[in-house]
Structures are given as structure tokens and as C-alpha cells.
């Protein structure tokens, strides 16, 4: 089984490549990259005018399976991923039951392999049941395929528990993903605290709720020598904390979401719950800081925090609506927007979507090196299209970008040499 992807602009930051090349795929692996490869008996895919990248890696999603299949499941979630050009994703453990056991990990991996359209790498919980009291069996979970541990959605409030979680995960060489949030400072808030929350009369969440725990967890990483990954940084302060920690040599990485570099709390005017997420949309100053963090390498990955919710959980009063938005199908164009706005160059943008998150997750993806698994995304960078929530592949339609015009999308997504999405 041979495929030849012909005449595309190959952008593969893992191998410092950005040039017009052909890619030959044999039996699901990258066999050769060169100019003008003879097709022989290979199926030829014309990529002229397209950008060819490693399949995108989204290191932060919620697939809701098992337990909340009415929001999303592994089949629909990975289909949304494929439609967004994403071939590998990590999924958070806040399912029902929580992914704190080998049985749940194996269920996710097996279902994804048999019925999914993307590689799924589970993240196990730090504590059993995500209740912050006892460590999950991380050793066995790692053997079973978990690539990291997190109580995402719930912070590990107890400082000692977080310390032990870092030490224990480090024993097995996997990172801890922190959802940095001091719930006592959140105190029931439903949006960023500031002049907009004051005007709208919604209880605010101050930046310090995020920064205080980001600071604590960075210090715990410094104390323990473990690898800390900070999820969805949304504040100027958190970006600065990570920047300083990296300069000190602390093993810390972090990610940012498209909504946190594209939208501010001004979007909450109108009380539309599709602008309610956690962490909340912040101020322009924070957006600028996140963009600066992406540009200077402080932020290592762009991840969606894809959080599907049923319309009944969103079509309610803002204060009681669930947190989160879907993101898999808008990840790529929103990242390309940063290129258009000259925040990032294309190679850097693709690195944030491929090799950099792959490295944090410790997975052998995000590269087009000869011998690598042929996960490949073909991108039309100039195609204008309009987001229509109803037409998303995800089961849930809670996007912040409904009706917005996007530029660029994946036209073909290839998973281990097999096309899983095409438009």
C-alpha cells in the first residue's frame, strides 16, 4: 500500500523542514521525502498549493466517554478531530467513571483503535476518583497507555497531595497536568472579574485564582524535580510565572487555547453561555500576554480544551451554565490567524500543534521523519469558510465561533497512511 503526496509545501518543524517536497508513504509509514518522487504504483494525492504537516496533536480534550456519551463519545470526538486536522489527542480523565483504573484506560484505547478516527492518548487522574485524597495507580495506568496525569476540571487543592502526585508521576517519567485554580478565590464566580463582570452583574473570578495555584505548582515542580505541565494558561501573570520558571530551569511546560488568545471577557456581554469556560475569557492585556508567550516560546503548545456540552446545559441562565466550549474543528484556522496577524511564523505555529505537544506527551507523533507513522494533515491555508455550529462533527455544538468567518482548514487528514477525513 503506497501513497504519494505530491508537490505540497511540507512544513515539519520537528525536522526543520519547510519546502516543496513529495512524501511517499508505504504501509502506513513515511518512506521517503524528496523532490519529484516517481509515483510508480502509488496512489497519488495532489497537494499542489496545500501545506502538508504532521497530523496535528491536541494535548487537551474531553471526549466524555465513558459516562457522558450524550455530550460526545470517542467516535464523534475523534471524527471532529479528523475534521479539524487532528490525528492525535490526549483526553482528560473526568469521565464517569473517572479514568483512574486500567479498565477505563483500556476501554478508551480499545474503542479508539477499533472505532475512532484519531489516535487517543488517555490522561489518567492524579487522585482516585479525582477527589484529591488518594493517589491513583499511576504506574499501572502508564503501562496501560496513559501519557500523563491530571485532575483537570478540579484542582488538587491540598498542597501535599500535589507534591506527592508530582513525585510519584516522576517515578514513572510522566508529567502532571495542572488545572491551576484556587476554588476559594473562584467563590462561585462565572466569568473573569473586572469592569465587564461588574457591569453585567456576574460574579467574577479574579486572575489571582489562577496565578496563585500556577505559582504553587511551579514551586512544587522545582522542589520535586518533576515535570509540570500547566493547562490552559489564560492570564498575564501565569504566562510570566512560567517564563520565569523556565529561565530558572524548572521542568515546566504549558499550553494555551485558541479562545484565550482570540477572545476577551467583552464577549460575555449578551450572556451567551458559549462564552463561558474555565478558565474564563480574560482581558485584552491577558490575551496580549498569551500571544507574547506563544511568540517567545514560553507557551509550548496550542490545545483546545475541547469541552462538549449538551445544548440543555448551555441554553440556561449564564451563571448556571456549564463551563467549556468545543474547539477541535476551529483549532487550525484560529492558529493560522496568529500567523496572518504576524504573531507567529508558520513553522512555529505548526510546531505548537505538532512536535511540541507530542514531546510533552512523550508520543512518537508530530513528525514526518522517515520511518515515522504516517499521520499527515493537508491544509488549504487560504480557503475562507464560515463556522456553522449545526454542521460541526462533534455531538455538541457549543462553539464560541458560530457564524464567524475562518481562513484555512484541513482538506485531508491521514492516519497511519489511511485517509480518515477529506473535503
Amino acid at each position: 500500500m503506497k501513497i504519494l503526496i505530491k508537490s505540497g509545501r511540507v512544513v515539519d518543524p520537528a525536522n526543520k523542514l519547510d519546502k516543496k517536497l513529495d512524501i511517499l508513504v508505504v504501509d502506513g509509514k513515511i518512506a521517503e521525502l524528496a523532490a519529484n518522487i516517481d509515483p510508480g504504483n502509488a496512489e497519488v494525492i495532489n497537494a499542489a498549493g496545500l501545506i502538508v504537516t504532521p497530523g496535528l496533536v491536541d494535548m487537551h480534550t474531553h471526549l466524555r466517554d465513558p459516562g457522558y456519551e450524550y455530550k460526545e463519545d470517542i467516535i464523534s470526538g475523534t471524527r471532529a478531530a479528523a475534521a479539524g486536522g487532528v490525528t492525535s489527542l490526549a483526553c482528560m480523565p473526568n469521565t464517569s467513571p473517572v479514568n483512574d483504573s486500567l479498565a477505563v484506560t483500556q476501554y478508551i484505547i480499545t474503542k479508539a483503535k477499533e472505532q475512532g478516527s484519531a489516535n487517543v492518548f488517555p490522561i489518567g487522574s492524579i487522585t482516585k476518583g479525582m477527589n484529591g485524597e488518594l493517589l491513583a495507580e499511576m504506574g499501572e495506568l502508564k503501562e496501560g497507555g496513559c501519557v500523563g496525569f491530571s485532575d483537570d476540571g478540579l484542582p488538587v487543592i491540598n498542597g501535599e497531595m500535589m507534591r506527592r502526585g508530582l513525585e510519584y508521576a516522576n517515578t514513572f517519567g510522566v508529567p502532571i497536568f495542572t488545572h491551576a485554580e484556587d476554588l476559594s478565590l473562584v467563590a462561585g464566580g462565572s466569568m473573569n472579574e473586572g469592569s465587564v463582570s461588574t457591569e453585567l452583574g456576574l460574579k467574577g473570578i479574579p486572575w489571582v485564582a489562577e496565578d496563585a495555584v500556577t505559582a504553587r505548582d511551579i514551586m512544587l515542580a522545582e522542589l520535586t524535580g518533576a515535570h509540570l505541565h500547566v493547562c490552559h494558561v489564560s492570564t498575564k501573570g501565569s504566562v510570566e510565572l512560567v517564563r520565569h520558571a523556565k529561565a530558572r530551569g524548572v521542568r515546566v511546560t504549558c499550553e494555551a487555547t485558541p479562545h484565550h488568545f482570540m477572545l476577551t471577557d467583552e464577549a460575555v456581554r449578551g450572556y451567551n453561555a458559549n462564552f463561558k469556560m474555565n478558565p474564563p475569557l480574560r482581558t485584552q492585556e491577558d490575551v496580549d500576554a498569551v500571544r507574547a508567550g506563544l511568540a517567545d516560546g514560553t507557551i509550548d503548545a496550542i490545545a483546545t480544551d475541547h469541552a462538549p456540552h449538551h445544548i440543555d446545559e448551555k441554553n440556561v441562565e449564564f451563571a448556571i451554565a456549564m463551563n467549556g466550549v468545543v474547539g477541535l474543528e476551529t483549532l487550525l484556522p484560529l492558529t493560522l490567524k496568529l500567523v496572518a496577524e504576524k504573531v507567529l511564523d508558520l513553522s512555529k505555529a505548526i510546531a505548537l500543534l505538532t512536535c511540541q505537544p507530542a514531546e510533552i506527551l512523550g508520543i512518537d507523533r508530530g513528525t514526518l521523519a522517515v520511518g515515522a507513522v504516517a499521520d499527515i494533515t493537508l491544509i488549504n491555508p487560504n480557503k475562507e469558510w464560515t463556522v456553522e455550529a449545526d454542521k460541526l462533527h462533534s455531538k455538541s455544538k457549543n462553539t464560541s465561533f458560530d457564524g464567524q468567518t475562518m481562513r484555512g482548514y484541513a482538506v485531508r487528514t491521514i492516519l497511519a497512511g489511511k485517509t480518515v477525513f477529506e473535503r
Binding site: 461588574t198 441554553n315 440556561v316 441562565e317
Partner: protein, 312 residues
Amino acid sequence: MSFNPKHILGIKDLSTDEINFILDTADSFKEINTRQIKKVPTLRGKTVVNLFYEASTRTRTSFEIAGKRLSADTVNISASGSSVAKGETLEDTAKNIQAMHPDIIVMRHGASGACQYLAERLDCSVINAGDGMHEHPSQALLDAFTIRQHKGSIEGLTVAIVGDITHSRVVRSDIYCLSKLGAKVRLAGPGTMLPPGIEKLGCEVFNNLEDAIRDADVVMMLRIQRERQGTPLIPSVREYARFFGLNGNKMDLAKKDAIVMHPGPINRGVELGTAIADGPQNVILNQVENGVAVRMALLYLVAGGEKLQEDC
């Protein structure tokens, strides 16, 4: 001019002319409330539903009387607690009411934005009778009406509002309303009750009562809304009364002819000393009285205003 809004959701989006038009309309209704027979046929055949998700005596009664004096059929619904706890969503409840073809829903709800939410989903008119910590437009209008009645004009006056600013929807509506009408608005309260960025709404912020009320024309005291407080924001009612209550001779700092207002219900001895609550400067019961006229004006204008007479 004529002004017939579909909804009244807040003061923020009203122009100065529209506010004045509402106040002038209220003026023309005021006299009905002192007649022997307090009823005109203006809203005959119209149905007004008062949908109250939070306890309210004053506002609900005021809207009900306003509707009845205009001959509307008024129905009161007291829905308990949050819609989640009750099992039916706000949208479903509202759509059930709509199926009975009311002309106007007057709603109070604990969630900010709930009235806008309703207005976006229903065909009938919606009047906001207080949504969360967001707006309480009819209260601000009756406050403006009362100030205008006592001071002739609002332009150039200094109005001090003291209390739990954070949790007050009245304050937000009052700031918009009074500043649009040309007043200077000052706020005061303990730091725990001053929300960030409130000055951007068009006011000056003080952290002591004395500076705020000095030379003020109007002093408005807010009730300490204990039920709104998730965490204790004040050490004690006693200490609050000492620093932020209007009592003793503090009113000497304001102008001699200053008036004292309160959206009610008052906590005697807490934000308002009894001597002042019952003193000659207080216009609190005027506010309540004017509330009926202002709400008559809102119901009338939302129902179609002058067009109503043409229909008859």
C-alpha cells in the same frame, strides 16, 4: 417624541430623551393614583404576568397595582428558587406562560441576564423587575422621578449612594439613569462591597461615607442584603452601622435641603438610623408612591403607548 420599546431590560441602553419621556409619561399617570376611582381603561384586555423568581413585596405589588389601575389583567407567579432545583428550565416555564398569550411578562430573577435571555426567546414584551446583580430599571426610574419631584431637575445634582454596591442591581441602574440625566454620582462602601471597575459606569468611588455625602443633594442608602453574600463581607452589622450607616448627625455634612432615599426594605439601625428614617428629609415613601406611576408608564409604553388609544 414617541417611545414604545418592545422590552425594558435596563437603563444602559436608554437615551436621555427616552428616560425623560418615561418620566413625563409617569407624571401624567400620577394623578390617577389619588382619584376616588383609581382606574382607567387604558390597558383593558391586556394580560400582564408578574413572574417573580425572588421574593419581593414592594416591586411585585407596585407592578400589580400599576397594571390593575390601567385595567390590565394581572397574574402573579412566584416561582421558587433556581430553575435547576425545580426541574423546569426558565425557557420552558416562560414558554408555558407564553402559550397563554400574555402581552407583557414582568420578571424578577436571581440570575443576571435572565430578562434578556427571556426577551430573546419569547414573542411578548419583557420588563425587567430586577435581574441578579445587573439592573433594576423601574427602581432607577422611580428614583429619578422622585428626585425630579423634589429638586425640580436632576442636572447638576450630586447623588451619593452608600452600601453594598457589589450586590446591588439598583446601583447599576441608578448610575446609568442619574448620570444620563446630568447628576454626579458618588458611591461609598467598605472595600469588600465595591466591585472592580464600577467607576467606568460613570461615578466616583469613596471608601468612607462622610466624603461621599459631603455637600450632596441626595443621599441614597442601600439595604445590606445579607442573603446575597456568599462569604462574610463585613465583620458585624454593628461595625457596619458605625462606619457606613447614616445615623447621628452625619446628614449635617450633606446640603441642608438634601433628601434621603432608600430602595427598601430598610434595616432600621443598620444602614439607616431611625431618627433619619423618620426624619423630615426622607422621601422613601414618596419613592414607593411614585413607583406605581412609573410602572404604569412602563406598562403603557411597552404595550404600545399612544397607539393603544388609536386601537380603541
